[in-house]
Amino acid sequence: MTPLVLAFAVATVALVATLLWAVAARQTAVYVTSGISFVSWSWLGIVGSDVALVTETQTIWLRPSMASIQFVAVAMAIVSLVVFSLRLFGAYPSPQTNAAESDERAEQQTR
């Protein structure tokens, strides 16, 4: 696995995890998905430069592109951590959404 392939794999994990807490947000799942997205975005932010230079092709556009991606990754890591904190204090998803989800699930179980 080349560094570039590894970076794409981690980026995919980060994007999927981010989509899950942003779109399919469900209570405790938000902990897991925002935690995973924090770790993966942080990893991309920290090792992005390595990926750009260690790749075999040494493509010139790759380094500045990865530098830009590093800034975005750091920002996304912070957003993920904010979401994790909000979930811990019961603010995301909102208490109303939580209650609605719990009721919905309870109804499904009783059917």
Partner: protein, 152 residues
């Protein structure tokens, strides 16, 4: 999973604490891209010569080349010994070397880029928050258990 599943919440917080911090710290420790340097130096049999680049170095390249002023190259392991851990060259007294001889050292340092340092500077202070997260999750779990005992 209900919102009252505090054990699951505590488990997730502990996992994040247990895996993220050492994982990201290791990623930062080993982050380094190879950058080529050259510097002038003087052969000194009495003391080793340290290379100039020491900032944000993850490690040095396995080999260096030492070019003699006026042409020619010194031979590794015969005329000098390169320590890729400390970044120092120990000089040996041979027919090719002489004390005070001007040389040029070409070496490679695996260094963290400014972007990587920036990312680490921003992200690492947040690790301190994980302790607060763990404490909050632990207190909630304990509180939940106590409430269950009193309800029973």
């Amino acid at each position: 999973m209900s919102d009252g599943d505090t054990v699951a919440q505590l488990a997730v917080v502990i996992l994040l604490l247990g895996l993220a911090v050492p994982g990201l710290a290791t990623a930062h420790e080993y982050a380094g891209t190879p950058i080529d340097y050259e510097q002038s130096a003087t052969v000194d049999f009495a003391s080793a010569t340290a290379v100039d680049e020491t900032a944000t170095v993850e490690r040095y390249g396995d080999e260096v080349s030492v070019l003699v002023a006026g042409g020619g190259e010194l031979e590794a392991a015969i005329d000098y010994r390169w320590d890729d851990e400390s970044g120092e060259i120990e000089w040996f007294n041979t027919t090719a070397t002489s004390s005070g001889q001007d040389v040029t050292i070409a070496y490679q340092a695996h260094q963290r880029t400014p972007e990587t340092e920036m990312a680490w500077t921003i992200i690492s202070p947040f690790f301190a928050l994980f302790g607060i997260f763990g404490l909050v999750a632990a207190v909630r779990t304990l509180w939940s258990y106590i409430a269950e005992v009193f309800e029973a």
